[in-house]
């Protein structure tokens, strides 16, 4: 594009972003508009408050909401990290040892579809700590897709690339860190972006089972008091977080996978 080359890189970047996110922004704006119209016309109701009421709650309860976002971030981040590390490790081992793969995959296919929230009571009973029980529930929900996609990725490595690596006499550690792992990264980013919604379902579910903080807990807590204005504020917060996480993930992927 001839005009684009004249503008600064920064301007070009933000324009690209604007174009990329324009449809989403339009939909959000339309939703906001519809909600405002509803508020103006009906004056709001017990179950569905007006937007200005919700905004007021967001402002008034800012500290608690902020703390909840932090708690949820910690829980989700830690669980995802554990699921990623264990899933990738296990997947690579399966890729390396056919026998292990033959043993693990059939079991994994049976276990994977079971919603991990079912394990919650057992996790609490065994671990005895709500936070780590929640970590267990979320991580075990994310572990399976990571495992399957890693196994899939390893199966996809071309023989040529493997041979090229072998002729360089790479030590096993280098082989994993600089050949297998980078090869798996695009698959893992795909997995993550597909699993974001699943992760939030798990997060909210796990927090509702007995945590004392977090956005899921916040919504559940105020729902128990039938304070739906605050419940709605919590839902808005969750929506915004999901939106931001998706964008950050996309940015991070573009950065890490600049070699694609």
């Amino acid at each position: 594009m001839p005009q684009a080359s004249e503008t600064s890189a920064l301007a070009r970047l933000s324009r690209v972003n604007l174009v990329r996110y324009l449809p989403q922004l339009i939909i959000l704006a339309l939703l906001g508009l519809a909600w405002s119209l509803y508020g103006a016309l009906t004056g709001g109701s017990f179950l569905l408050p007006r937007p200005d009421e919700v905004v007021e709650v967001l402002g008034a309860d800012f500290a608690k909401i902020f703390e909840s976002i932090g708690a949820s971030g910690l829980l989700l981040g830690l669980s995802s990290l554990i699921a990623l590390v264990l899933g990738v490790l296990m997947g690579m081992l399966c890729g390396q040892f056919e026998r292990l793969k033959g043993a693990v995959l059939p079991i994994a296919r049976v276990l994977a579809p079971i919603p991990s929230l079912i394990y919650a009571p057992y996790a609490v009973a065994i671990v005895g700590d709500f936070f780590w029980a929640a970590v267990f529930v979320i991580a075990s929900g994310l572990f399976w897709p990571v495992l399957f996609n890693t196994v899939n990725a390893i199966e996809d490595i071309s023989d040529e690339l493997i041979n090229s690596a072998r002729t360089l006499n790479l030590p096993t550690r280098t082989m994993f860190a600089w050949v297998m792992l980078p090869h798996c990264l695009p698959y893992l980013f795909n997995t993550l972006s597909v699993q974001v919604s699943n992760a939030f379902l798990l997060l909210v579910g796990a927090e509702m089972m007995g945590m004392r903080s977090g956005v899921g807990w916040y919504v559940k807590y105020w729902a128990d008091y039938s304070n739906f204005t605050t419940v709605f504020a919590g839902i808005v917060v969750i929506a915004v977080i999901v939106f931001v996480v998706n964008i950050l993930l996309e940015k991070f992927r573009d950065r890490v996978l600049s070699w694609k």
Binding site: E160, S164, A165, T167, L168, N169, T174, W259
Partner: protein, 304 residues
């Protein structure tokens, strides 16, 4: 394709003169005599003796090599040429240590090959580079596997070789940002920068366009020529001109073994235009060309 190109050569040369051009003993009828003819009198850097190999799967077994024997002297450039599917790549993978023979011996410096080794570097036709590393990193990564030199030295060596293959200014690009020819330049830079005694190349220019191929052939000749210590090179190709230009000896593969050894008598530095004009060149070219046709009788019969 080599075969298509070869059709344009004059085919009128007499067989008596062709015989004079060949300095190696002709293979005789028996396999035993045929396989002894492939050893040169110089001390062998690489020695392959009586190698047999079959590819097996659950249902069948396909013999690819049987009684394959040849050797390569230190500092020698040897081409393996033959019809596609005759086992050239398989042979190279034996030398690389990527595969083990069912029977027979593969020796380097008199020691049996048991796997890949730091004394060998390999250039493949495709996917030799790691897509997630910039050109510079790909070369440095190769050097680091064979050298304990400090980072700065490795970086300098990588930069030097990338410059020598004509990629100055492209060091920071990823493989997908480079053309096929440029990617092969990086692969060659890496293989040379590793400064291994042995260089194994499997149709390294097979996937680049004709013009780039000529440039890369000349570049390879030049780079190998200027090395302090001459590398031992085994080069797989199906291009007759490429084999004649680059090699000291050409090994023709057919029927799962080396069926013919051809000494290439040209002195270094070789200039493609000069050698191509000589009678010897045309004789050798015709001889190899005819061997391709013997191989593909049905191809000849079809009148293409």
């Amino acid at each position: 394709m080599a075969a298509d190109e070869a059709i344009t050569t004059p085919r009128s040369t007499g067989s008596a003169r062709a015989d004079e051009a060949i300095t190696t003993p002709r293979p005789t009828g028996s396999a035993r005599a045929g396989s002894t003819a492939v050893f040169s009198d110089r001390p062998a850097k690489i020695r392959v003796k009586g190698v047999a190999l079959s590819y097996r799967n659950n249902t069948s077994s396909t013999a690819v090599l049987s009684d394959l024997s040849f050797d390569v002297a230190e500092g020698e450039f040897v081409s393996l040429i033959g019809a596609s599917g005759c086992g050239k790549s398989t042979t190279l993978s034996l030398l690389a240590g990527l595969r083990m023979p069912d029977s027979g011996e593969v020796h380097i410096d008199g020691v049996p090959v048991t796997g890949t080794g730091k004394d060998r570097s390999v250039v493949f036709q495709h996917y030799a580079l790691f897509p997630w590393m910039r050109a510079r990193r790909n070369v440095e990564f190769g050097i680091r596997q064979v050298s304990d030199a400090p980072k700065r030295e490795i970086a300098a060596k990588a930069a030097y070789y990338l410059k020598r293959v004509g990629l100055e200014g492209k060091e920071a690009l990823y493989p997908h940002q480079l053309s096929g020819g440029m990617q092969q330049r990086v692969a060659i830079a890496r293989a040379l920068a590793m400064e291994t005694e042995i260089l194994l190349m499997d149709e390294p220019f097979g996937a680049v366009d004709a013009k780039t191929r000529v440039v890369l052939q000349d570049l390879l000749l030049e780079l190998l020529q200027e090395q302090e210590r001459k590398r031992t090179v085994v080069f797989v190709t199906h291009d007759i001109d490429e084999a004649l230009l680059l090699s000291d000896r050409v090994l023709f593969m057919n029927a799962q073994r080396i069926s013919k050894v051809i000494e290439v008598p040209f002195e270094h530095p070789k200039k493609r235009h000069e050698i191509a004009q000589t009678l010897v060149y045309r004789e050798l070219r015709k001889e190899i060309f005819d061997m391709f046709y013997e191989d593909e009788g049905e191809y000849l019969a079809s009148g293409i």
